[in-house]
């Protein structure tokens, strides 16, 4: 028997038909959808008189443009309100479960899907959102798709696709003090570039990945798209099964046992081959900070803003000059001399419970620097409630952070959470593109602990100066 990667195993189990032209028809086991990329797809169904083929495999979330303030107030933005109402109407018409604004399980689709047990190892999963690769952390083969493809999956529960190539991203070594999964993925993108994984399904493996929690692996998989990857995946292990067990939609009883048996056959076989391999030694990784306008423009916190003149390639030099102009940065400035106006802890990259706990350990008993606006936007309402049970909301609010309801928020700035022109933000999100967090806003991507420390000091600091694993009281009684 030939040795296979997990990607090949899942791919082969789901291919219904291969055509001579190289495209394959793939069955899709799970379809997650949201208010922004679905309306035109539903309209396509309506226009062609089609139905959603398997509504029980399809789940709708509201996340991209939802307000993160008081949910009982009317939505001020007319167009956002319209999109939200449209999704409600479409979900009802087509018989799809929707986690609406008032649902206790509302949240960012890539946080809520896994925590609800909708994401399972070995399934194919799609969503009309590029960060769908996140779900690969649980051993699912997950693709971000466009709106035409959303309509296609609604109507047929399948997708036409050319088989992507496979890429092994081996991460070895123990993550040193202060370095997180976020730093590991920023480091990888810095090394291979924003187009380095185009056309590939990245499989993360190696001792560093094995040692990571499922939530850390989600951070890794989430940002594979920022290296251009078609998707990302990690072979599942006991940590994954524990993560899923007893979640609301997890298989139960005999089905759980059956599922486990089949999941244990998924991990990549020894000796399996990849089309491409890269490997990284993470044992000396430092906290990373982006300085430019794409996630590959990254340096370590101990470094300085690079000088475009040091780039040999003329087009890269031009890109660096443009980025520095946009970011309002001078070459040679030490990263720790850069001041921040806003700190955003949120997004499908880094707003899960473990992210919030780590940030709270930095924040506990301290104050946000004067003049800095700092906000925590939990990845889902479930994360929010779990955090509140630990008293994290008190820790953040006592320090001067805003404690919000869940949504994509300032990662994409489609709701009212956005930067003012010229404002500089330490953000735990995934994209530092021009104007991403608000027109003229300047984004620096960092880990949650780096963001927390930046909030306290009003500038970037080397988070290793802090005691990261200090004991803080993690319980709160609502009495």
């Amino acid at each position: 028997m030939t040795a296979k990667t997990i990607f090949e195993k899942i791919w082969e189990a789901h291919v219904l038909k291969e055509r001579e032209d190289g495209s394959a028809l793939l069955y899709i086991d799970r379809h997650l959808t949201h208010e922004v990329t679905s309306p035109v797809a539903f309209e396509t169904l309506r226009m062609t008189g089609r139905r959603v083929r398997r509504p029980e495999l399809t789940f709708a979330f509201m996340d991209h443009n939802v307000p993160t303030g008081d949910r009982l107030q009317p939505i001020k933005d007319r167009l956002s309100a319209e999109q939200i109402k449209t999704l409600m109407r479409n979900a009802r018409e087509f018989g799809i479960t929707v986690f609406d604004l008032l649902s206790p399980f509302q949240g960012i689709v890539h946080v809520a899907g896994p925590e609800l047990g909708l994401t399972l190892p070995g399934i194919t999963l799609v969503c009309g959102d590029s960060h769908t690769s996140t779900h690969g952390a649980l051993g699912a083969l997950a693709f971000g798709i466009g709106t035409s493809e959303v309509a296609h999956v609604f109507a047929t529960q399948t997708l036409w696709m050319k088989k992507p190539r496979s890429m092994e991203a081996r991460m070895e070594g123990e993550l040193p003090y202060g370095a997180t999964a976020k730093d590991a993925i920023l480091w990888m993108i810095r090394r291979i570039g924003v187009g380095g994984a185009i056309g590939h399904v990245v499989e993360y493996r190696g001792s560093a990945v094995e040692a990571m929690s499922v939530e850390e692996r989600m951070t890794l998989c989430n940002m594979a798209i920022e290296a251009g990857a078609r998707s990302a995946i990690v072979s599942p292990d006991e940590k994954v099964y524990d993560y899923i067990k007893d979640t609301p939609y997890a298989p139960k009883g005999e089905e759980w046992e059956e599922a486990l048996q089949s999941w244990r056959k998924l991990p990549t076989d020894p000796g399996a081959r990849y089309d491409k391999s890269v490997s990284f030694d993470l044992s000396r990784l430092e906290p990373q900070v982006t300085w430019g306008t794409n996630p590959g423009m990254t340096v370590s916190v101990t470094e300085e803003v690079p000088d475009p003149r040091d780039f040999d390639d003329p087009s890269e030099r031009a890109m660096a000059e443009r980025a520095l102009r946009y970011m309002g940065l001078e070459p040679g400035t030490p990263i720790t001399k850069i001041k921040v106006d806003v700190v955003f802890i949120g997004s499908c990259t880094n707003a899960r419970l473990s992210d919030l706990i780590q940030a709270a350990k930095i924040v506990y008993g301290r104050r946000v620097a004067p003049g800095v606006r700092a906000l925590v936007v939990p990845g889902s309402q479930l994360v929010k409630r779990k955090a509140e049970r630990l008293g994290l909301h008190r820790i953040f609010m006592d320090a001067g952070f805003e404690w919000r309801n869940s949504g994509c928020s300032m990662c994409i700035a489609m709701n009212e959470d956005r930067l003012e022109p010229g404002q500089r933000c330490a953000s735990t999100s995934n994209r530092n593109f021009e104007n991403r967090q608000g027109v003229g806003g300047r984004t620096h991507l960092v880990s949650p602990i780096m963001a927390a420390a930046a909030a306290l000091e009003g500038r970037f600091v080397d988070v290793r100066e802090y005691e990261l694993d200090r004991e803080i009281p993690l319980e709160w009684e609502a009495a």
Binding site: R30, T158, G228, E258, F433
Partner: protein
């Protein structure tokens, strides 16, 4: 639904920027519009307009020489980032029917194929040469998809590669959904043997 493409001829405009993400092609605020029509005026919005809506000079497609361009010659990694198909709709609405670049974001590339926007990958040095030539403002390219060939005045014919399934789709303007439903039997067979644990069954109470 999608117009078939066999041969197209049009003015080429150079966009000498690498890593143009879909946030640049169409900013998120315009994703709230519930239609795929009329997005051209928002294409590259932040590059073309100030925050108060006044035009920003200097964007190549606003240059009178390139206003009627139908072919965009872009830098590498064009269309990376967000999956928003609105990026493709905006380009089409702007009159762009073909993008030539050294490489494309995967999701953008798929979205383009589904909407009849032809994306052609060429080696970087060749793209740069075409960009320089297009900068003169009078480069008309003829693209023959059937023959996979680009030609133009003073330009030696350029062969390009394209995945057969993308080519066929573009040539015939095929409707994917209809094509997939030809395989109804295969779909049903999979669904019959699909393990039941894959079908979500919520707990009686969604507890935490």
């Amino acid at each position: 639904m999608v117009e078939p493409i066999r041969v197209m001829e049009g003015k080429a405009a150079p966009l000498k920027v690498n890593d143009v993400d879909t946030d640049q092609i169409i900013p998120a605020q315009f994703l709230k519009l519930l239609s795929r029509k009329g997005l051209g005026k928002y294409a590259f919005y932040r590059w073309r307009y100030n925050e108060d809506g006044t035009p920003k000079p200097g964007f190549i497609l606003d240059d009178p020489r390139f206003k009627d361009a139908e072919i965009l010659i872009a830098g590498k990694n064009f269309g990376i980032g967000s999956s928003r198909e609105n990026a493709v709709w905006a380009l089409l609405d702007l009159g762009i029917r073909c993008v030539i670049a050294p490489s494309f974001g995967d999701i953008f590339y798929n979205n383009a194929a589904k909407n009849g926007l032809l994306c052609i990958r060429l080696p970087e040095d060749l793209v740069e040469r075409l960009q320089d030539r297009a900068m003169e403002g009078d480069l008309i390219l003829r693209i023959d998809l059937e023959k996979q060939e680009i030609s133009g005045k003073d330009i030696e014919a350029i062969r390009f590669d394209i995945e057969p399934h993308v080519k066929e789709r573009l040539l015939k303007g095929l409707d994917d959904i209809t094509m997939a439903l030809l395989y109804e039997e295969e779909i049903k067979r999979y669904e019959e043997r699909m393990p039941s644990y894959i079908i979500p069954k919520p707990s009686r109470f969604l507890h935490e």
